[in-house]
């Protein structure tokens, strides 16, 4: 160990109480940052996965322009060719096809405007969580064509129940009138009011028949092995687009493009979180600044003597910076360890925040929240604390460069 490092380590323990308090402040900031960042990122992943599972999937292939303008005629003409291609792409967990139509739905008593979605019940159950969201009745079977799943809020509005009939009236792909009577087989509740109020699901074959779709669909909905794989899978799809789309104008979209509102919500929340973290780090930085300023002021005489016997100011500055780094590293390591342990505990058991269930439900988040520890969440915050601490100890250390031996030694 170099003598500077040895001196630095011994110097920081000359005032153990002050050192312990400073280390505790750094460790606390590190711990809070590890936990809060893990918590935020964990919540975002839950939000994304929940939304993705309920409606959009991680990725979709659509006809060019369908995302912006949901016209019936903007279709994927040959879904089988897309299916053959998707079977070869690595990182895809499952995929399914959907078709959507905007209709009026009527019961005996009321009429509402809704989106009717044609689904392949078996494939849909692997891609989305809709099967598990059915609260009344049962999920669709593979050969169900004129039976439907409807949202709980819509069923309340229409005043219908299981086995009741509803009439849908819309426009087919060829401009013809699309009309059918559907029997309600199941009622789902996702917790997302907009979804539960506006969506009806029925068998894809029945939908294609009613809406004159032929074999075409509107969306190929894809889930990746994990959220982290989405960009890679998207890249794979886009790289091979020319081989699969033929003369069709198709677009490969990820969840951020399909649900920009969710992304903006996450970004807003992240920004507000970052502002809070910056405030926390600044408070800690002032504490560190104060500690180092005190440590330097009370040792001015000692620095004067060191300069008198030939130590250069830069060497003393280096010594003081070593002291800062030693203390910060100990604090940061403790912060990461404690923060990670706390996070791992709550990652297993979750956190219940009373009174927020309804709000969370609207974002598809369960009432128990789970932080998720990752390399980024465990290191990003502490790294910022390390840098800020380093900078805040640098300014007091600069004072040493201005010291003159005689004046410093005269300091009491």
């Amino acid at each position: 160990m170099s003598i500077e490092l040895k001196m630095a380590w011994r110097n920081i323990w000359r005032n153990p109480r002050r050192t312990l308090l400073t280390i505790a402040a750094i460790a606390f900031a590190g711990m809070i940052l590890v936990f809060m960042l893990s918590f935020q990122l964990g919540c975002y992943e839950t939000m994304i996965n929940t939304c993705v599972k309920i409606s959009t999937g991680h990725l979709q292939i659509q006809a060019q322009g369908y995302l912006k303008d949901k016209k019936m005629r903007l279709v994927i003409k040959d879904p089988d060719r897309i299916a053959q291609f998707l079977d070869t792409v690595k990182g895809i967990d499952h995929y399914t096809f959907r078709a959507n139509g905007f209709c009026l739905v009527s019961s005996d008593k009321r009429t509402y405007g809704v989106v009717v979605t044609g689904i392949d019940p078996m494939k849909e159950a692997r891609v989305s969580s809709i099967k598990s969201l059915v609260r009344k009745g049962s999920y669709l079977k593979a050969d169900d064509e004129y039976t439907a799943l409807i949202g709980e809020l819509l069923s309340n509005n229409l005043k219908v129940n299981i086995n009741d009939e509803i009439t849908i009236l819309g426009q087919g792909r060829d401009g013809s009138i699309a009309a059918a009577v559907l029997t309600i087989k199941g009622i789902f509740n996702s917790g997302i009011d907009e979804f539960d109020r506006n969506v009806i699901m029925m068998g894809l074959k029945g939908f294609q028949e009613i809406f004159s779709m032929g074999t075409s669909v509107h969306e190929a909905v894809i889930t990746a092995d994990s959220l982290g794989d989405v960009s890679r899978v998207k890249q794979n799809i886009q790289n091979n687009f020319s081989a699969i789309k033929g003369d069709e104008a198709l677009a490969g979209l990820d969840w951020m493009e399909i649900m920009p509102g969710l992304l903006q919500g996450i970004q807003m929340d992240l920004v507000s979180g970052i502002i809070m973290y910056i405030i926390l780090v600044i408070v800690v930085a002032f504490s560190i600044f104060n500690t180092f300023l005190m440590a330097i002021l009370e040792r001015t005489r000692e620095f004067g003597v060191m300069m008198a016997i030939g130590t250069s100011p830069s060497r003393i500055t280096k010594l003081v910076m070593f002291e800062s780094i030693c203390m910060t590293i100990v604090g940061i390591i403790l912060g990461i360890i404690i923060g990670s342990l706390v996070t791992i505990y709550f990652q297993k058991y979750g956190i219940f925040i009373a009174g927020t269930e309804d709000i969370l439900k609207q974002y598809g988040i369960p009432d128990r929240l789970y932080p998720k520890l990752s390399l980024i969440s465990a290191t990003a915050g502490p790294l910022v604390v390390f840098l800020i601490t380093f900078v805040s100890s640098f300014f007091p250390a600069l004072k040493i460069r201005k010291l003159k031996p005689v004046e410093a030694m005269a300091n009491v």
Binding site: I3, K6, R301, E302, M306, A308, I309, G310, V406
Partner: protein, 228 residues
């Protein structure tokens, strides 16, 4: 042969609104291997003189030459290097580095000079043995008596064979017996190793051991006595 030569050194300080004339034109020549005491009452300018000879402070006017190095031609970095290689300091309040052991304190100066570790260790042990601190190498300053601390300070000052050792009232914080032992030790170093000592004091016993007694009063040399 002169190791220190000062000509017409003047130095003033500002204390609040009052300007204090610390040195009013001092000429002093000290030969190599001398054992010189600067005597005089408090505030006479002894410490200021030592600080100027040691390159810790610069005079307002006049010239200082130490071991053929003229301070007028040197910047702060040059002066720091000169202090490191040519001058040893012993302070009234010992001023050892509190977090280093006795041997580490002595080694520290050699470390700054870039002396290899093994040589540093050997020389530090040897000099600590010479000042009577054999077996106390690993004690921190707080674990040593005042006399022992000052011995470590002397060892630190002379370990790198400086041209001169400047000691500012080295016995002021010691009892008379310990003080005398320390002066005898310094005298021994002076005699055996030909180290030049210049020290300030107003201790009669210390003055008795000096080979030359320079008395300063109100910033001027009022008496310069070569003793047998």
């Amino acid at each position: 042969m002169a190791i220190v030569e000062t000509k017409n050194i003047k130095k003033t300080y500002k204390q609040g609104k009052v300007i204090v004339e610390a040195l009013c034109g001092i000429d002093l020549i000290v030969d190599k291997a001398a054992f010189v005491a600067l005597a005089g009452p408090s505030g006479s300018g002894k410490t200021t003189m030592l600080n100027i000879i040691g390159g810790l402070d610069l005079p307002d006017s006049g010239s200082v030459i130490v071991d053929n190095n003229c301070f007028a031609d040197m910047n702060q970095a040059d002066l720091a290097s000169l202090r490191l290689h040519k001058i040893g300091f012993v302070f009234q309040a010992f001023n050892l580095i509190p977090v280093l052991s006795a041997i580490e304190n002595v080694e520290y100066v050699m470390l700054l000079q870039g002396v290899p570790k093994i040589e540093r260790c050997d020389r530090a042990k040897g000099i600590l043995d010479d000042v009577g601190l054999k077996g106390k190498y690993d004690r921190r300053p707080a674990e040593l008596s005042g006399g022992q601390q000052q011995r470590v300070a002397v060892a630190r000052a002379i370990v790198s064979n400086p041209a001169i050792v400047l000691a500012d009232e080295p016995t002021a914080n010691l009892d008379s017996k310990t003080g005398e032992d320390l002066v005898l030790m310094m005298k021994k170093m002076n005699t055996e190793k030909k180290v030049t000592f210049i020290f300030s004091t107003h201790d009669k016993m210390v003055m008795d051991y000096a080979t030359r007694l320079v008395t300063i009063k109100d910033g001027l040399i009022v008496n310069d006595e070569i003793k047998a």
